[in-house]
C-alpha cells in the first residue's frame, strides 16, 4: 500500500489539561478513508493537526512524506481542507469566495474556479451570494474550495452532517469520484452510513484513543454471527438484559420492544440471528447502546 498519510504516536494535550489525542498511530493509503467517532472523540483535533493548523504535543504526522510541523509549506501545498461547520463570508458571491481561496493557494485562474464549480454542480449559482444558499449548497461551495488545485489529499470534517438524503448521496458521489487516480480523501464523520458507503478502510477514535484501524470488512468480522434480535415485553426486561449483554439498539413497538443485542457467548437461544451491520460493529466498539 502506498502511504499518503502516516500518523505516528500523536498526542495532543491542551493547556487546560484535556488530552484530545493520546498516542494515536495509523496509516492511510489512497482511496476514501473514514475516521469515525463520537462528538468529542478527537476527530477534529486530528484533522486540524493533519492540515497544520494545530501542532501536536508529541508524535509525527507525515503527509506524502512531509512532516506537518517541520515542512508545513510542503504539506499545505498538497492538501485541500473542508472544516466542520464552515459558514464562509455571506456577502461574497460563490465565485468570489472560491476565487479568493484559489488565490490564497496561488492559483490565479478564473477558468480553474469555473471548472471546480462545475464539478460540484454550482456553476449556475456562481453569482449568488453565499448568505442566500441552502445548507447543502454551502457545503458544495466548501468542497469546491477544497478541490481547487487538485490536491493530493482531501481532508473533510463532518461534510454530510445536517444534509438531506439527496445532498448526502450527491456528496458521497463527489468524494468517491475524487478519490480515484491515487488521491486520498480522509473523511471524518459520526455517520456510520457514510463510512459504509464510501470507505474500505477506517479508524475509530474513542475519547482520544485509537480504538480500531483497518478494513471495514475486518471490523464487521468481529461481530459476525453475534448480532441477534430479541423481543421483550417491557422496560424491566430490557434493564435485566443490559446486565447480561451489550444492547446495540432498541425499537419500541405497539406491544413491547425489540432489542438488537450482541450475543458473544451464545446465551440467548430464543434470540433470532440477523446480519450484522457496520453500525452494529461501531456501537459495539463504543461499548454502548443506541436507542431508536
Amino acid at each position: 500500500m502506498n502511504t499518503n498519510i502516516e500518523i505516528s504516536h500523536i498526542t495532543k494535550k491542551y493547556k487546560n489539561g484535556v488530552t484530545a489525542l493520546d498516542d494515536v498511530s495509523f496509516r492511510v493509503g489512497s482511496g476514501v478513508f473514514g475516521l469515525l467517532g463520537h462528538n468529542g472523540a478527537g476527530k477534529t483535533t486530528l484533522m486540524k493537526a493533519l492540515v497544520t493548523v494545530l501542532t501536536p504535543s508529541a508524535g509525527i504526522i507525515r503527509i506524502c512524506g512531509f512532516d506537518t510541523v517541520k515542512q508545513g509549506n510542503e504539506v499545505r501545498a498538497r492538501i485541500g481542507y473542508l472544516p466542520q461547520e464552515l459558514a464562509m463570508y455571506p456577502s461574497l458571491s460563490v465565485f468570489d469566495f472560491v476565487n479568493y481561496m484559489a488565490e490564497l493557494k496561488g492559483i490565479h485562474n478564473k477558468k480553474a474556479v469555473s471548472n471546480v464549480l462545475e464539478q460540484v454542480e454550482m456553476l449556475e449559482f456562481s453569482k449568488r451570494k453565499i448568505g442566500q444558499l441552502s445548507g447543502g449548497m454551502k457545503r458544495r461551495v466548501g468542497i469546491a474550495q477544497a478541490l481547487i488545485g487538485n490536491p493530493q489529499i482531501l481532508v473533510v470534517d463532518e461534510p454530510t452532517a445536517g444534509l438531506d438524503p439527496e445532498e448526502r448521496v450527491r456528496f458521497r458521489g463527489l468524494l468517491s469520484r475524487y478519490a480515484r487516480e491515487g488521491r486520498t480523501v480522509l473523511l471524518s464523520t459520526h455517520i456510520v452510513e457514510d463510512i459504509h458507503q464510501l470507505c474500505e478502510e477506517l479508524a475509530v477514535l474513542r475519547k482520544g484513543h485509537l480504538f480500531y484501524a483497518g478494513t471495514s470488512a475486518a471490523l464487521l468480522e468481529r461481530v459476525k454471527d453475534k448480532v441477534k434480535i430479541l423481543h421483550l415485553e417491557n422496560e424491566n426486561q430490557l434493564i435485566e438484559l443490559q446486565k447480561k449483554s451489550v444492547v446495540l439498539s432498541t425499537t419500541y413497538e405497539s406491544q413491547g420492544l425489540t432489542a438488537r443485542i450482541m450475543d458473544e457467548s451464545g446465551l440467548f437461544l430464543q434470540a433470532t440471528p440477523v446480519t450484522a451491520t457496520l453500525e452494529d460493529a461501531y456501537v459495539y466498539c463504543m461499548g454502548g447502546k443506541a436507542h431508536a
Binding site: 492540515v51 493548523v53 494545530l54 508545513g72 509549506n73 464552515l86 464562509m88
Partner: protein, 250 residues
C-alpha cells in the same frame, strides 16, 4: 496579502449597512451644514468653503467613523466564528499576510468611505451655495483635509477596530470605543486648547481652517494629535503580530 486586502475591501463595500451608515451620516451632516438661509445665518463662516470642509471633517465625520468602527470590529472574530480561520491557516497564507491584509483592507475601506462622504457633502455645498465659489476654493481645503485628517483618522479607526477585537472580548471593545467616541462627541473645548486625543476635532484639523479671532496653531499640539492617531493605530495593529497564539506556529 493583496488577496486578503482586496476581498476584505470588497466584502465591506458590498455590505448594505455600509451605505446605510454613509446615508445617515450624510443626512445629518447636511442638516447641520447645508448652505440654507437658516444655516448661513446660524453659522458665521459657512460662506467659506474651507470652513465648510473643516466643519464636515471635525464634527460630522465622527458619526461616520463611529458607524464604520462598529462594522469593522467583527472582521477578525467572524473568521474564528465561521471556521474561516482554520481554513485560512491550512492554506499557504502566513500570519503577517493575513493581519496586514485585514488591516490595510480596513484602512482603505474607511479612507474611501470618508473621501466619498467629504466629496459628496462638498459637491452638494458647491452646487447649492447661493453665493459665488471658485472650484479652487473647494479643492485646496479638500486636499488638506485628506492629508491632515482623513489619513490619520482612517488609520486610527481601522487599525484599532480590526486589531483590538482580535485580542480582547468584542463587547469590551464596544464599551471602550463608545466611551471614546462619546467623549469626542460631547467635548466642548476652547479654540485655544484642544486635547491631543480628540479623533476628528483635535489640532490637526486647524491646518484646514482657523478661526479669525484665534488664528494661531500650536504645532506641538498638532504633532501630538497626529502622533496619537497614527501611533495608537500602529501600536494596536502591531499587537496582533506579537500575539503568539493568534496563528499556527510557523
Amino acid at each position: 496579502m493583496f488577496s486578503v486586502l482586496h476581498y476584505e475591501y470588497k466584502m465591506q463595500f458590498k455590505r448594505l449597512v455600509t451605505w446605510g451608515v454613509l446615508l445617515v451620516a450624510t443626512a445629518l451632516s447636511l442638516l447641520d451644514n447645508f448652505p440654507s438661509a437658516g444655516n448661513l445665518a446660524r453659522l458665521e463662516f459657512l460662506n467659506e468653503p474651507a470652513y465648510f470642509v473643516y466643519r464636515i471633517v471635525s464634527l460630522d465625520s465622527l458619526v461616520l467613523l463611529f458607524g464604520l468602527m462598529f462594522l469593522l470590529a467583527g472582521r477578525i472574530p467572524i473568521d474564528t466564528k465561521t471556521g474561516m480561520k482554520s481554513l485560512l491557516m491550512s492554506s499557504a497564507l502566513r500570519k503577517w499576510q493575513y493581519v496586514l491584509g485585514k488591516l490595510l483592507g480596513g484602512f482603505l475601506y474607511v479612507f474611501s468611505m470618508q473621501c466619498i462622504f467629504l466629496l459628496l457633502n462638498t459637491m452638494i455645498y458647491f452646487i447649492a451655495a447661493p453665493f459665488e465659489i471658485s472650484l479652487i476654493e473647494c479643492i485646496v481645503p479638500l486636499i488638506k483635509a485628506i492629508f491632515v485628517s482623513l489619513v490619520p483618522t482612517s488609520l486610527f479607526v481601522s487599525f484599532c477596530s480590526i486589531a483590538l477585537p482580535g485580542m480582547i472580548d468584542i463587547r469590551l471593545f464596544y464599551i471602550l470605543a463608545a466611551i471614546l467616541f462619546g467623549f469626542n462627541a460631547t467635548y466642548v473645548g476652547s479654540a485655544e486648547a484642544m486635547p491631543f486625543y480628540l479623533i476628528t476635532s483635535g489640532d490637526l484639523v486647524r491646518l484646514i481652517w482657523v478661526h479669525p479671532r484665534w488664528p494661531f496653531v500650536d504645532m506641538g499640539s498638532v504633532i501630538a494629535n497626529g502622533f496619537f492617531l497614527v501611533g495608537s493605530g500602529l501600536v494596536c495593529g502591531s499587537l496582533l503580530f506579537l500575539k503568539h497564539k493568534f496563528w499556527r506556529s510557523e
